[in-house]
Amino acid sequence: MQAVMPKPSPASKILWVAIAIVGAFCLGVVALRRGEPINAIWLVAASIAIFVIGYRFYGKFIEHSVLRLDATRAPPSVLRNDGLDYVPTDKWVVFGHHFAAIAGAGPLVGPVLAAQMGYLPGTLWILFGVVFAGAVQDFMILGLSLRRDGRSLGHMLREELGPLPGIVAMIGVLVLMMIVLAVLALVVVKALTHSPWGTFTVACTIPIALLMGVYLRWLRPGRILEVSIIGLVLLLASIALGKNVADSATLAPLFDFDAKALAWWLIGYGFCASVLPVWLLLAPRDYLSTFLKIGTIALLALAIFLAAPMLQMPAVTRFIDGTGPVFAGNLFPFLFITIACGAVSGWHSIIASGTTPKLLANESQARLVGYGGMLMEAFVAIMALIAAASLHPGVYFAMNAPGAIIGTTVQDAATTISQWGFVVTPDELIRTARDIGEGSILSRAGGAPTLAVGMAQLLHNVIPGASMMAFWYHYAILFEALFILTTVDAGTRVGRFMIQEIAGLIHTPLQETSSWAGNLLATAICVALWGYFLYQGAVDPLGGINTLWPLFGIANQMLAAIALMLATVVVVKLKRERYVLVPGVPALWLITCTLTAGYEKLVGPISFTAAANKYAQAMEQGQLLAPAKNAAEMRQIITNNYVDMALTGLFMALIVVMVLFCLRALLRAWRSSHPTAHEEPYVALGSVAS
């Protein structure tokens, strides 16, 4: 049974033509105006027009022709209704849940880093990437899972491709998760280095969360909203108090750490947090960060609409040639690796095949949640890009370029950056640091601080006040640190269960999740895995983000490529070959980008190999290269680059293996005369008693 596309009325035709014209005009202004800065509202309007057109036409085309979703078919929530995991739920409630699960630090960080190439390349990739790749992936994986009892991505891969590809993909997911945790933790390290104010407020989240945990457990069980409001008030108080700590000569040194020390604190914290009972620390912080995240995204949107900032970054900078200080590499493929979340993110395929398909009350609502939810995330990415591009470009580069390139004093930084064509004076850099209540803004890569300065300036335009800039800056830092730390806790716990499962194959008692020995051992292994990369980032010559973000991007886009390849295989297995290009083209594009980026990171001037060789040669000649201070640190940097090479090679091998498995499955399905996909049989919605 296939639902028939309704014929549009004349009024609706006129409306859509009007939206298309407005959208095309706004996009034209964004893309073609040169020499004078444009207002961010043009970008917002162009994005909204493209999103609604993509949703109405391409989304609907996928719904009706490719997935052939059927409103009369009973979804898993109805068939297996258990009142807990499988519950038919209102579509807007599911939408809110799904968006809260997919939106994280990713869409806020990637676009900020990519702003070094100007706002235009990032904007175009986000807008067209999401419509033709990201939203397609989320929506199609959700659709496939809906037809398979809400099964997970791993399960569907095993069923449709075979057991071995399933295992290969799951190894990829585990490694990806470790890289995600390390990179996100590094964002926090970069934001808090030598920032007593920031470190104090983030440290305060621990006692606040413990208090909330006790309150929820013993005083008023289950009153999430109530306790979250209490937590929020305490958090805001801690931001205000942080200023006094930073100004105090006795207290400030207690919260003043360098990157290495912060990395060790985070590693220790990650270990403790994930062996404690969830109700004590993890869950209450999770509630707080979820609400704060949604609230702050809304605040950012409001600030952009009210402040309507001018974009000071040029549309395209000279750094599209691959010489950029924030990350190395040409526009192709590195732009498409740097902006993952926001355009297309493999991680979403895990969520789209997790809780969401078990909640949808009808197949006809999948487009709103799957395709629409991802468009919302792309909008968050556009807002992050606006926040970064509305900064003074000189300030932007001072914050994001590593010390090895721009030097460590404001004079050196201002000279270097002005030579690039972004004229800035040392005074401007000092004034910006003073406005936000920090000692220095130099080389704070990682996206969070840049976004925080951008947000602080936007909010300051809307709500003026002498010391408000510093408050908003630390609010933005706190909000990012809060949900990154929640991800680190929860991710370490999930990684621990995965490791215990694998260890259980070797020695069964280790599988017992309630056993303290198995628990501590698996947690230690998990923390060591991501902790290694975090520490590596903290001692990295180019500041860490420069090295680790491409690895994260390659891994995340690899997972997206795998999810889209699964969708491609299933479309052919359903004998709908004429639509094979819908998931097939984005899959091919991501395979090309990840393999090219991987190759350039293995061979050539910007590769890990070149970095390792540079340090090895200097060692042979008895020289020391910054930031290494002795031979042991030189050796450490060389080893780190070898590990990164091995990891890049592993990701490339995983992709190639998955491509081969998919080609085999595609050939078989193409030759078959009948559909071979593993869909559950049709059950009419009306025939199931609720």
């Binding site: 807990l84 994280g104 289950g222 979340c341 993110s345």
Partner: protein, 65 residues
């Protein structure tokens, strides 16, 4: 009329907020138990909340980067 609509909106908002934290609707669960499993004991909201809190972090990786 408007009061009823506002109450319904508030209920939806609370339901969404709780679901974002991994806690499904308690009333729906109780109704489900009463209809399909009348023999089982209905847990209190506190018990239900604790069980869901534990279940949320059992694995699955329910959030993005």
């Amino acid at each position: 009329m408007i009061g009823a609509a506002l109450r319904a909106l508030r209920k939806r908002a609370v339901q969404t907020a709780r679901l974002c934290c991994g806690v499904p609707d308690y009333d729906v669960y109780v109704a489900h138990l009463r209809t399909h499993h009348p023999d089982r004991r209905v847990p209190s909201y506190a018990e239900f909340f604790r069980e869901r809190q534990e279940a949320r972090y059992k694995g699955g990786g329910g959030r993005c980067c």
